[in-house]
Protein backbone atom coordinates (compact mmCIF):
# COMPACT_ATOMS: atom_id res chain seq x y z
CA UNK A 1 0.00 0.00 0.00
CA UNK A 2 1.22 3.49 -0.75
CA UNK A 3 2.31 5.51 2.22
CA UNK A 4 -0.02 8.08 3.66
CA UNK A 5 -0.55 11.03 1.37
CA UNK A 6 -1.97 12.95 4.29
CA UNK A 7 0.46 13.42 7.16
CA UNK A 8 -0.58 11.94 10.48
CA UNK A 9 -2.91 9.32 9.07
CA UNK A 10 -2.49 6.13 11.09
CA UNK A 11 -5.33 4.07 9.80
CA UNK A 12 -7.26 3.86 6.58
CA UNK A 13 -10.65 2.25 6.26
CA UNK A 14 -11.65 1.06 2.83
CA UNK A 15 -15.42 0.87 2.57
CA UNK A 16 -15.94 -0.73 -0.77
CA UNK A 17 -19.03 -1.74 -2.65
CA UNK A 18 -19.83 -5.45 -2.18
CA UNK A 19 -19.00 -6.65 -5.69
CA UNK A 20 -19.52 -10.29 -4.81
CA UNK A 21 -23.04 -9.57 -3.69
CA UNK A 22 -23.73 -7.51 -6.81
CA UNK A 23 -22.67 -10.48 -8.89
CA UNK A 24 -24.52 -13.15 -6.99
CA UNK A 25 -27.81 -11.56 -6.07
CA UNK A 26 -30.40 -13.28 -8.21
CA UNK A 27 -34.05 -12.36 -8.40
CA UNK A 28 -35.02 -9.62 -6.05
CA UNK A 29 -31.60 -8.01 -6.08
CA UNK A 30 -31.54 -4.53 -4.75
CA UNK A 31 -33.34 -5.67 -1.63
CA UNK A 32 -31.39 -5.48 1.55
CA UNK A 33 -30.72 -8.50 3.65
CA UNK A 34 -28.70 -11.64 3.39
CA UNK A 35 -28.39 -14.01 0.50
CA UNK A 36 -29.22 -17.66 0.96
CA UNK A 37 -27.90 -20.64 -0.85
CA UNK A 38 -30.28 -22.73 -2.91
CA UNK A 39 -31.28 -25.80 -0.88
CA UNK A 40 -31.71 -27.94 -4.01
CA UNK A 41 -28.17 -27.04 -5.18
CA UNK A 42 -26.84 -27.85 -1.75
CA UNK A 43 -28.49 -31.26 -1.83
CA UNK A 44 -27.15 -31.96 -5.32
CA UNK A 45 -23.65 -31.02 -4.16
CA UNK A 46 -24.05 -33.28 -1.16
CA UNK A 47 -24.90 -36.15 -3.53
CA UNK A 48 -21.75 -35.57 -5.62
CA UNK A 49 -19.81 -35.47 -2.39
CA UNK A 50 -21.23 -38.83 -1.31
CA UNK A 51 -20.45 -40.38 -4.67
CA UNK A 52 -16.88 -39.23 -4.39
CA UNK A 53 -16.74 -40.46 -0.83
CA UNK A 54 -17.29 -43.95 -2.21
CA UNK A 55 -13.95 -43.65 -4.02
CA UNK A 56 -12.23 -42.48 -0.88
CA UNK A 57 -11.14 -45.94 0.42
CA UNK A 58 -9.38 -46.67 -2.90
CA UNK A 59 -7.61 -43.36 -2.76
CA UNK A 60 -6.49 -43.91 0.84
CA UNK A 61 -5.30 -47.45 0.01
CA UNK A 62 -2.99 -45.83 -2.48
CA UNK A 63 -1.69 -43.37 0.13
CA UNK A 64 -1.22 -46.24 2.58
CA UNK A 65 0.82 -48.17 0.00
CA UNK A 66 3.04 -45.10 -0.37
CA UNK A 67 3.43 -44.86 3.41
CA UNK A 68 4.51 -48.53 3.54
CA UNK A 69 7.07 -47.76 0.87
CA UNK A 70 8.42 -44.84 2.94
CA UNK A 71 8.54 -47.12 5.98
CA UNK A 72 10.45 -49.76 4.01
CA UNK A 73 13.01 -47.14 3.02
CA UNK A 74 13.34 -46.07 6.68
CA UNK A 75 14.29 -49.67 7.45
CA UNK A 76 16.63 -50.13 4.48
CA UNK A 77 18.32 -46.72 4.51
CA UNK A 78 18.54 -45.47 8.10
CA UNK A 79 20.70 -42.52 7.01
CA UNK A 80 17.75 -41.11 5.04
CA UNK A 81 15.26 -41.33 7.90
CA UNK A 82 15.15 -37.62 8.55
CA UNK A 83 13.92 -36.80 5.03
CA UNK A 84 11.63 -39.81 4.93
CA UNK A 85 10.04 -38.78 8.24
CA UNK A 86 9.41 -35.36 6.73
CA UNK A 87 7.52 -36.95 3.85
CA UNK A 88 5.55 -39.10 6.28
CA UNK A 89 4.60 -36.01 8.29
CA UNK A 90 3.26 -34.30 5.17
CA UNK A 91 1.27 -37.34 4.02
CA UNK A 92 -0.17 -37.83 7.50
CA UNK A 93 -1.23 -34.19 7.54
CA UNK A 94 -3.14 -34.70 4.30
CA UNK A 95 -4.83 -37.88 5.55
CA UNK A 96 -5.69 -36.22 8.83
CA UNK A 97 -7.78 -33.60 7.10
CA UNK A 98 -9.71 -36.02 4.92
CA UNK A 99 -10.74 -39.06 6.96
CA UNK A 100 -13.48 -37.37 8.92
CA UNK A 101 -14.84 -35.69 5.81
CA UNK A 102 -15.54 -39.07 4.21
CA UNK A 103 -16.91 -40.91 7.20
CA UNK A 104 -13.66 -42.44 8.47
CA UNK A 105 -12.82 -40.46 11.60
CA UNK A 106 -10.49 -43.27 12.76
CA UNK A 107 -8.22 -42.52 9.78
CA UNK A 108 -8.14 -38.94 11.03
CA UNK A 109 -7.36 -40.11 14.59
CA UNK A 110 -4.48 -42.36 13.52
CA UNK A 111 -3.18 -39.88 10.94
CA UNK A 112 -3.20 -37.14 13.59
CA UNK A 113 -1.11 -39.34 15.88
CA UNK A 114 1.21 -40.27 13.00
CA UNK A 115 1.53 -36.63 11.98
CA UNK A 116 2.57 -35.67 15.51
CA UNK A 117 4.84 -38.64 16.08
CA UNK A 118 6.68 -38.36 12.75
CA UNK A 119 7.81 -34.80 13.47
CA UNK A 120 10.78 -36.48 15.16
CA UNK A 121 13.89 -35.37 13.26
CA UNK A 122 16.90 -36.32 15.34
CA UNK A 123 18.07 -39.62 16.73
CA UNK A 124 15.40 -41.64 14.92
CA UNK A 125 15.78 -45.20 16.19
CA UNK A 126 14.52 -48.55 14.91
CA UNK A 127 11.84 -48.52 17.61
CA UNK A 128 10.50 -45.22 16.26
CA UNK A 129 10.29 -46.71 12.78
CA UNK A 130 8.24 -49.56 14.28
CA UNK A 131 5.80 -47.05 15.74
CA UNK A 132 5.40 -45.53 12.27
CA UNK A 133 4.51 -48.97 10.93
CA UNK A 134 1.95 -49.55 13.69
CA UNK A 135 0.16 -46.36 12.61
CA UNK A 136 0.07 -47.42 8.97
CA UNK A 137 -1.18 -50.88 9.97
CA UNK A 138 -4.00 -49.33 11.99
CA UNK A 139 -5.11 -47.12 9.07
CA UNK A 140 -4.92 -50.04 6.67
CA UNK A 141 -7.19 -52.08 8.95
CA UNK A 142 -9.75 -49.25 9.06
CA UNK A 143 -9.90 -49.02 5.27
CA UNK A 144 -9.68 -52.76 4.56
CA UNK A 145 -12.61 -53.49 6.88
CA UNK A 146 -14.45 -50.25 5.98
CA UNK A 147 -14.69 -49.26 9.62
CA UNK A 148 -16.81 -46.11 9.57
CA UNK A 149 -17.56 -43.80 12.47
CA UNK A 150 -15.80 -44.61 15.73
CA UNK A 151 -15.82 -48.30 14.78
CA UNK A 152 -17.34 -49.45 18.08
CA UNK A 153 -15.49 -52.34 19.75
CA UNK A 154 -13.21 -52.94 16.74
CA UNK A 155 -12.29 -49.26 16.61
CA UNK A 156 -11.52 -49.24 20.34
CA UNK A 157 -9.39 -52.37 19.97
CA UNK A 158 -7.40 -50.83 17.12
CA UNK A 159 -6.81 -47.65 19.12
CA UNK A 160 -5.73 -49.67 22.17
CA UNK A 161 -3.43 -51.82 20.04
CA UNK A 162 -1.73 -48.76 18.60
CA UNK A 163 -1.32 -47.20 22.05
CA UNK A 164 0.29 -50.42 23.30
CA UNK A 165 2.80 -50.45 20.43
CA UNK A 166 3.63 -46.81 21.10
CA UNK A 167 4.24 -47.37 24.82
CA UNK A 168 6.21 -50.58 24.14
CA UNK A 169 8.60 -49.02 21.66
CA UNK A 170 8.77 -45.47 22.96
CA UNK A 171 12.30 -44.41 24.02
Amino acid sequence: MAEAAKPGVKVRFYRLRNRLKDKTAGLGSGMDGGIEIDTAALEAAQKIFEEMAEDYPDWVSNQIAQLYELHRRCVDTPEQRRGLFEQITAMAHDLKGQGGTFGYPLVTTFATSLNRFSTLRNDIRDSHVEIIKAHIDAMRAVIRDRIKGDGGAIGAALTRGLEQVISKYRD
Partner: protein
Protein backbone atom coordinates in the same frame (compact mmCIF):
# COMPACT_ATOMS: atom_id res chain seq x y z
CA UNK B 1 -32.95 -13.71 -1.64
CA UNK B 2 -31.51 -16.69 -3.49
CA UNK B 3 -27.89 -16.89 -4.40
CA UNK B 4 -26.98 -17.06 -8.08
CA UNK B 5 -23.36 -18.11 -8.43
CA UNK B 6 -23.35 -18.37 -12.22
CA UNK B 7 -21.34 -15.18 -12.70
CA UNK B 8 -18.85 -16.07 -10.00
CA UNK B 9 -15.27 -17.11 -10.83
CA UNK B 10 -13.48 -19.07 -8.09
CA UNK B 11 -9.85 -20.17 -7.95
CA UNK B 12 -9.33 -23.41 -5.99
CA UNK B 13 -5.79 -23.94 -4.69
CA UNK B 14 -5.27 -27.42 -3.27
CA UNK B 15 -2.41 -29.88 -3.59
CA UNK B 16 -4.36 -33.07 -2.95
CA UNK B 17 -5.88 -34.13 -6.31
CA UNK B 18 -8.71 -35.88 -4.54
CA UNK B 19 -9.80 -32.88 -2.49
CA UNK B 20 -9.17 -30.56 -5.44
CA UNK B 21 -11.62 -32.38 -7.68
CA UNK B 22 -14.06 -32.76 -4.81
CA UNK B 23 -14.05 -29.00 -4.23
CA UNK B 24 -14.27 -28.23 -7.96
CA UNK B 25 -17.23 -30.58 -8.48
CA UNK B 26 -19.03 -29.33 -5.40
CA UNK B 27 -18.62 -25.68 -6.43
CA UNK B 28 -19.93 -26.42 -9.92
CA UNK B 29 -22.96 -28.24 -8.56
CA UNK B 30 -23.60 -25.34 -6.19
CA UNK B 31 -23.83 -23.26 -9.37
CA UNK B 32 -20.45 -21.52 -9.57
CA UNK B 33 -19.99 -20.55 -13.22
CA UNK B 34 -16.21 -20.62 -13.46
CA UNK B 35 -13.89 -22.82 -11.38
CA UNK B 36 -10.13 -22.63 -11.99
CA UNK B 37 -7.61 -24.93 -10.35
CA UNK B 38 -4.05 -24.56 -9.07
CA UNK B 39 -1.88 -27.18 -7.38
CA UNK B 40 -0.16 -24.92 -4.89
CA UNK B 41 0.47 -21.29 -4.01
CA UNK B 42 3.14 -20.64 -6.63
CA UNK B 43 0.92 -22.01 -9.41
CA UNK B 44 -1.89 -19.82 -8.07
CA UNK B 45 0.31 -16.72 -8.23
CA UNK B 46 1.31 -17.54 -11.81
CA UNK B 47 -2.32 -18.07 -12.71
CA UNK B 48 -3.51 -14.83 -11.11
CA UNK B 49 -0.82 -12.91 -12.97
CA UNK B 50 -1.80 -14.59 -16.24
CA UNK B 51 -5.45 -13.66 -15.69
CA UNK B 52 -4.39 -10.05 -15.30
CA UNK B 53 -2.11 -10.00 -18.34
CA UNK B 54 -3.81 -12.38 -20.73
CA UNK B 55 -7.30 -13.39 -19.56
CA UNK B 56 -8.06 -15.17 -22.84
CA UNK B 57 -5.13 -17.52 -22.38
CA UNK B 58 -5.94 -17.96 -18.70
CA UNK B 59 -9.45 -19.03 -19.70
CA UNK B 60 -11.19 -16.65 -17.34
CA UNK B 61 -11.68 -12.90 -17.37
CA UNK B 62 -11.18 -12.51 -13.65
CA UNK B 63 -11.11 -14.26 -10.29
CA UNK B 64 -13.67 -13.18 -7.68
CA UNK B 65 -12.69 -15.42 -4.80
CA UNK B 66 -9.78 -17.65 -3.80
CA UNK B 67 -10.45 -20.90 -1.96
CA UNK B 68 -7.08 -22.19 -0.78
CA UNK B 69 -5.63 -24.95 1.31
CA UNK B 70 -3.09 -23.84 3.91
CA UNK B 71 -0.40 -26.50 3.96
CA UNK B 72 1.13 -26.95 0.51
CA UNK B 73 4.60 -26.84 -0.89
CA UNK B 74 6.60 -24.98 -2.07
CA UNK B 75 4.28 -21.98 -1.55
CA UNK B 76 1.58 -22.49 1.07
CA UNK B 77 -1.78 -20.79 1.50
CA UNK B 78 -0.46 -18.29 4.03
CA UNK B 79 2.25 -17.11 1.62
CA UNK B 80 -0.30 -16.86 -1.19
CA UNK B 81 -2.56 -14.75 1.02
CA UNK B 82 0.35 -12.51 2.04
CA UNK B 83 1.24 -12.04 -1.63
CA UNK B 84 -2.33 -11.11 -2.52
CA UNK B 85 -2.67 -8.62 0.33
CA UNK B 86 0.79 -7.07 0.24
CA UNK B 87 2.68 -7.60 -2.99
CA UNK B 88 2.98 -4.87 -5.58
CA UNK B 89 2.13 -7.36 -8.34
CA UNK B 90 -1.06 -8.49 -6.62
CA UNK B 91 -3.99 -8.19 -9.04
CA UNK B 92 -6.41 -7.32 -6.23
CA UNK B 93 -5.40 -6.65 -2.64
CA UNK B 94 -9.03 -6.88 -1.57
CA UNK B 95 -9.53 -10.36 -3.07
CA UNK B 96 -11.93 -12.38 -0.92
CA UNK B 97 -9.97 -15.32 0.50
CA UNK B 98 -11.30 -18.48 2.13
CA UNK B 99 -8.60 -20.61 3.77
CA UNK B 100 -9.07 -24.34 4.27
CA UNK B 101 -6.93 -25.99 6.89
CA UNK B 102 -6.44 -29.18 8.84
CA UNK B 103 -4.96 -26.96 11.55
CA UNK B 104 -7.79 -26.25 13.93
CA UNK B 105 -5.74 -24.81 16.78
CA UNK B 106 -6.91 -21.39 17.86
CA UNK B 107 -3.44 -19.95 17.34
CA UNK B 108 -3.51 -21.03 13.69
CA UNK B 109 -6.91 -19.51 13.04
CA UNK B 110 -5.64 -16.35 14.73
CA UNK B 111 -2.56 -16.38 12.49
CA UNK B 112 -4.77 -16.61 9.40
CA UNK B 113 -6.76 -13.61 10.62
CA UNK B 114 -3.58 -11.60 11.13
CA UNK B 115 -2.68 -12.34 7.51
CA UNK B 116 -5.99 -10.90 6.34
CA UNK B 117 -8.15 -13.92 5.58
CA UNK B 118 -11.90 -13.47 5.10
CA UNK B 119 -13.01 -16.87 6.41
CA UNK B 120 -11.36 -20.05 7.64
CA UNK B 121 -12.81 -23.51 7.02
CA UNK B 122 -11.32 -26.40 8.98
CA UNK B 123 -11.00 -29.94 7.66
CA UNK B 124 -12.82 -32.24 7.88
CA UNK B 125 -15.60 -30.18 6.30
CA UNK B 126 -19.04 -30.89 4.89
CA UNK B 127 -20.71 -29.49 1.79
CA UNK B 128 -23.04 -27.56 4.07
CA UNK B 129 -20.05 -25.88 5.72
CA UNK B 130 -18.59 -25.04 2.31
CA UNK B 131 -21.90 -23.45 1.30
CA UNK B 132 -22.14 -21.53 4.56
CA UNK B 133 -18.59 -20.24 4.29
CA UNK B 134 -19.19 -19.09 0.70
CA UNK B 135 -22.25 -17.20 1.82
CA UNK B 136 -20.36 -15.71 4.75
CA UNK B 137 -17.68 -14.39 2.38
CA UNK B 138 -20.33 -12.93 0.07
CA UNK B 139 -22.59 -11.44 2.74
CA UNK B 140 -20.04 -10.15 5.21
CA UNK B 141 -18.49 -7.32 3.28
CA UNK B 142 -16.31 -6.06 6.08
CA UNK B 143 -14.40 -2.84 5.63
CA UNK B 144 -10.69 -3.26 4.95
CA UNK B 145 -8.31 -1.85 7.51
CA UNK B 146 -4.85 -0.59 6.68
CA UNK B 147 -2.53 0.20 9.55
CA UNK B 148 1.24 0.09 9.98
CA UNK B 149 1.19 -3.65 10.59
CA UNK B 150 -2.08 -4.93 9.18
CA UNK B 151 -3.88 -4.93 5.89
CA UNK B 152 -7.03 -6.97 5.51
CA UNK B 153 -10.71 -7.29 6.41
CA UNK B 154 -11.68 -5.70 9.73
CA UNK B 155 -10.93 -8.34 12.36
CA UNK B 156 -13.73 -6.96 14.50
CA UNK B 157 -16.73 -8.72 13.00
CA UNK B 158 -19.52 -7.57 15.23
CA UNK B 159 -20.33 -4.53 17.24
CA UNK B 160 -21.21 -6.21 20.49
CA UNK B 161 -22.01 -4.27 23.65
CA UNK B 162 -18.98 -4.25 25.90
CA UNK B 163 -18.84 -3.19 29.55
CA UNK B 164 -15.13 -2.45 29.78
CA UNK B 165 -13.28 0.62 28.69
CA UNK B 166 -13.19 1.14 24.92
CA UNK B 167 -9.52 0.90 24.00
CA UNK B 168 -10.06 2.09 20.45
CA UNK B 169 -8.84 5.64 20.60
CA UNK B 170 -9.69 6.60 17.03
CA UNK B 171 -13.08 7.25 15.48
CA UNK B 172 -14.13 8.03 11.91
CA UNK B 173 -13.77 11.70 12.71
CA UNK B 174 -10.23 11.54 14.08
CA UNK B 175 -7.61 13.31 11.95
CA UNK B 176 -5.51 10.11 12.06
CA UNK B 177 -8.25 8.25 10.21
CA UNK B 178 -8.83 8.32 6.49
CA UNK B 179 -11.91 6.71 5.00
CA UNK B 180 -11.88 5.61 1.41
CA UNK B 181 -15.11 4.73 -0.34
CA UNK B 182 -15.18 2.81 -3.55
Amino acid sequence: MKLDLQRLSVLVVEDSPFIRSLLANSLKVLGVGQVSLAEDGSRAIEFLQLVKKDPVRAGTMNVDLVLSNWQMSPVDGAMLLRWLRRHKDSPDRFMPFLMITAYSERARVQEARELGVNEVMTKPFTIRTLGEKLIAVINRNRQFVHTRDYFGPDRRRQNLPFDGKDRRSLTDKSPEVEIIHG
